[in-house]
Symmetry: C2
């Protein structure tokens, strides 16, 4: 494995990720890092995020949208609220047993999985039901042949 140096920039980026539960984007990490190191550049943030992912020190989420990162390495899943866009952590629902089952069925050797749930979070459900109104039936799509 290539040799790396332990720079201030790198350390700060890791700190931000570990202290945040927000699954921040590169841009957000950049903004936060600038509060400590006003001269850090976006390029450096990207370079380090990439390196930290390769080293397995952080994870990259690829559910909704572009590059969001996660400093929480404990096995866990994610839930994305389709109304407000908030991403929450979920305790892992399953793991080894699931992997074994799928591997046995398919012949793939499974190292890990990524599971993302989508739906509505409690607070968006509440808001929605308070203004529950008009309901149109969904029409048949024209492309179904």
């Amino acid at each position: 494995m290539k040799k790396t140096r332990n720079t201030r920039q790198r350390g700060i980026i890791l700190d931000i990720l570990r202290e945040s539960h927000e699954h921040p984007t590169a841009e957000i990490i950049y903004r936060d890092a600038r509060r400590v190191l006003p001269n850090i550049s976006l390029g450096t943030v990207y370079r380090n995020l990439k390196l930290l992912v390769e080293r397995g020190l952080i994870r990259e989420l690829n559910g909704r949208g572009f590059g969001r990162y996660d400093g929480n390495l404990a096995r866990h899943d994610h839930f994305t609220c389709q109304v407000c866009g908030q991403i929450s952590d979920l305790a892992a629902s399953e793991d080894r047993a699931l992997h074994r089952r799928v591997a046995a069925r398919t012949g793939f050797e499974i190292s890990h999985h990524r599971m993302e749930f989508y739906g509505r979070c409690p607070s968006c459900r509440a808001k929605a039901s308070s203004r529950a109104r008009a309901r149109k039936p969904r029409s048949r799509s024209p492309y179904t042949r």
Copy 2:
């Protein structure tokens, strides 16, 4: 829902997606479409992919990398080989029961999930074991505090 017309371009893009099991990128769809409609533009491909996703006629994969699309709407998961990059379909491992369990535990209302497995496919496993050689112990990372 907005009104849409049924154009040749749109139909061809849908056909390509439905006939392919390769989870093609926009670029690949564009290349294929040009064999039938040499003048179709990349912009049109993107516009239609977006529209078809909104209409629920295709799915967008967001596992590894950028925009890959899937014309197979049946509930299924994906497996990505980390060696060769190939993406395979897997029969869905679970669904309603899992959603109910997670919903009960968290209070989220779950509409669907996305599950991606990562590891090595049978053919890459075979290749790897035939040249199994040097094994270096992984060194401790310098960033673990």
